[in-house]
């Protein structure tokens, strides 16, 4: 399985701090995507990074991809209470569909 696995499972920080979440996967990929899910809601796409890219930015989000280590990280800078959510990585490769990991639960305390 090329399922992404997020680490840590849960993260608790104070507002203003940075939050880093990691994702590891098992087989080669075409791209890796990060999604956010607010409690009890659907997922929202955050960012897609292709296998030939190493880093990508979107606002306060920074995603890196290391295909040699089969890992990715999502950094949220200057976190806010509104960033409290679960974050999922999803991998896509070959003819496979997107496969989601179990997620990291982030709690940002005011």
């Amino acid at each position: 399985s090329q399922q992404g696995e997020e680490d840590p499972q849960a993260l608790s920080i104070q507002e203003g701090e940075n939050a880093t979440m990691n994702c590891s996967y098992k087989t080669s990929i075409n791209n890796l995507q990060w999604y956010r899910q607010n409690s009890g809601r659907g997922l929202v796409h955050l960012i897609l990074i292709r296998s030939n890219e190493r880093e990508k930015h979107s606002g306060r989000l920074r995603v890196t991809l290391d295909t040699s280590k089969k890992s990715s990280s999502l950094l949220i800078t200057a976190s806010r209470a509104a960033d409290t959510a679960s974050y999922f990585c999803a991998t896509a490769g070959g003819y496979n569909k997107l496969i989601f990991g179990a997620g990291t639960r982030l709690a940002v305390h005011p």
């Binding site: 075409n30 009890g40 997922l43």
Partner: protein, 114 residues
């Protein structure tokens, strides 16, 4: 603004009932997906469709069927609901079926089977 809607946010059904979950997207996407989400297991793909009247099994299709009569609508059917189908069901649509593009999700339906 893109939109995926699901017919119910919460649903309570009895064991053995036939259950219909509806999903509608307004983005003219050819590809639509049904997932279920359970704590600690992430999202698991039940079925997907890459065109009207076309469907393919995902990872956990047992006990489910789907219908895609129109491009914008993708229905998930629980033929005879069982308690182990209590879950959060998420519908998504995408420009691509192989994960090369992002997926747009509906708000989810939380189903409880008694």
């Amino acid at each position: 603004d893109v939109k995926v809607t699901q017919s119910s946010r919460y649903l309570v059904k009895r064991t053995g009932e036939k259950v219909f979950l509806e999903c509608v997207q307004d983005m003219d996407h050819e590809n639509m997906f049904w997932y279920r989400q359970d704590p600690g297991l992430g999202l698991r793909l039940i079925y997907f469709s890459y065109d009207v009247k076309m469907k393919e099994k995902g990872d956990i299709p047992e006990g489910y069927s789907v219908s895609r009569e129109k491009k914008e609508r993708f229905s998930l059917i629980l033929e005879s609901a069982s308690t182990n189908q209590t879950s959060m069901y998420l519908c998504a649509s995408s420009l691509d079926v192989q994960g090369r593009a992002s997926q747009y999700f509906g708000p989810g339906t939380r189903l409880l089977v008694l």
